[in-house]
């Protein structure tokens, strides 16, 4: 069965420090991987995606993610965190052989402290 795991419910980082939000996946075919961010009481916004090619993907707001096929991971990273990065982050995956549906992680709450 296809699945996505975000092992941390919450991540706390001091402003200016690097941040990592973890995501691992399980799919039967080639994975298409996505990160979305949700600010309080709002819809989700697309951050970045990996379809094929370079394993390091750059996205919006200075975020990047690294696809690691051997570890089946797609961790979200940022070199220097901002207080405004505080939000709920979702990882999602779809396999190349499936239909329109994305499989979503449970979300990780990122808190950046000044």
């Amino acid at each position: 069965a296809q699945s996505v795991a975000q092992p941390e419910d919450q991540v706390n980082v001091a402003e200016g420090n690097p941040l990592t939000v973890k995501c691992t996946y399980s799919v039967s075919g080639n994975p298409y991987l996505f990160w979305y961010v949700q600010y309080p009481n709002r819809g989700l916004q697309f951050l970045l995606k990996y379809i094929t090619g370079d394993n390091l993907v750059k996205g919006s707001y200075g975020f990047e993610a690294e696809f690691n096929k051997s570890q089946t991971s797609f961790h979200l990273k940022k070199p220097s965190a901002l207080v405004s990065d505080s939000a709920l982050y979702f990882c999602a995956v779809r396999s190349s052989g499936s239909n329109y549906q994305l499989i979503w992680g449970a979300g990780t709450k990122l808190i950046i402290k000044p």
């Binding site: 979305y36 916004q45 995606k49 329109y100 992680g105």
Partner: protein, 117 residues
Amino acid sequence: SQTIHQWPATLVQPVGSPLSLECTVEGTSNPNLYWYRQAAGRGLQLLFYSVGIGQISSEVPQNLSASRPQDRQFILSSKKLLLSDSGFYLCAWSPLQGSLATNEKLFFGSGTQLSVL
């Protein structure tokens, strides 16, 4: 540019009352449309998706139904709300044309917070 409108932003309804949430997309044609529910600010549950007018796929058996009367209009309904229907409902769209993989990006509405009392 494309925009998605979802309303109302908040709704308080008594148990047993009907529900109608509306979502419209502008600036694109023949989009894939989705209804998601998010419980307690966490994981997303896909409720319905539609690839065309009158074509609705249901992912979770429940008290809700969806309809797509027009190309860019998606409606979530219930005849009688239950307490368990409370949650944050999100409408989303994705482009249909081109590769499904490269156009997988979802665009979300701002959501409706539904409280059933």
